[in-house]
Symmetry: C2
Subunit: 128 residues, 2 copies
Amino acid sequence: MSKYQPTESELEILQLLWPNGPMTVRAVNDILNKNKDVGYTTTLKIMQIMLEKKLVIRDESKRTHVYEAKVAESEVQEKLLSKFINSAFRGSPASLVMQALGNHSASAEELEEIKALIDRIENNKNPE
Amino acid sequence: MSKYQPTESELEILQLLWPNGPMTVRAVNDILNKNKDVGYTTTLKIMQIMLEKKLVIRDESKRTHVYEAKVAESEVQEKLLSKFINSAFRGSPASLVMQALGNHSASAEELEEIKALIDRIENNKNPE
DNA sequence: TTCTTTCTACGAAAACATTCGTAATTAACA
DNA sequence: TGTTAATTACGAATGTTTTCGTAGAAAGAA
């Protein structure tokens, strides 16, 4: 995994690459522009920096390069999450979870899934 | 609530002010220096900026000023959490919760508390 | 009082991230 | 072919955050 943490703009681009797979700068920039104004060369530059940081790889066989995420979404999430728990929730994952559940909606299925996960954790910790 | 979001260093200081109550710059800087090297005037400057942003208030009646958090911890957490869910978990609180529970340890009591919270949410949504 | 330490205020430097203008090249097309 | 459009590379400008040096005032100690 890349030793670099993505910045905010880099993360925004990764969030497009992860679900969509390989994309051109143009495609990324078009999507970004649905929400805000970003110049084409701005997006290009950031993606070039991401290449240097090894957050992405690119296919240069054609003139129009195609970029692909090199870091896994779950790994990036895990790093960011650890940092976030420490910096905003005094290192308490439980208090983050409580706040997330309390103030943000989840579907009935998701809630069941979470309960099932907790059950599995409890059973592993207290095997009988 | 302050219209400003705390930066990382500002948040680090708020994390000291919240549990400890009013503190001097000296006290804050001493604690920060247990983990890393930070110059006294650096800490002072950041706390002065926090004052401008109205993240803290200060008592100037003595020569040595005493700073106190003005924003509530839960409010700051909530704002940061919303942003974090969007930027790192594609807007899915449930996937954040799953990852937090899966990779970070919580005590048995905390797990029960979380389950109880989920039960309350489920009952509110489907009252009988 | 005089010297030393501690504190605040201020501004500038350094570090980091974002944005964009420009030039060169390639592709597309009339 | 020759003109236009799209793409990359590069560097510089801008913006934001962090760090720190310096000066002056206040407090404490000898």
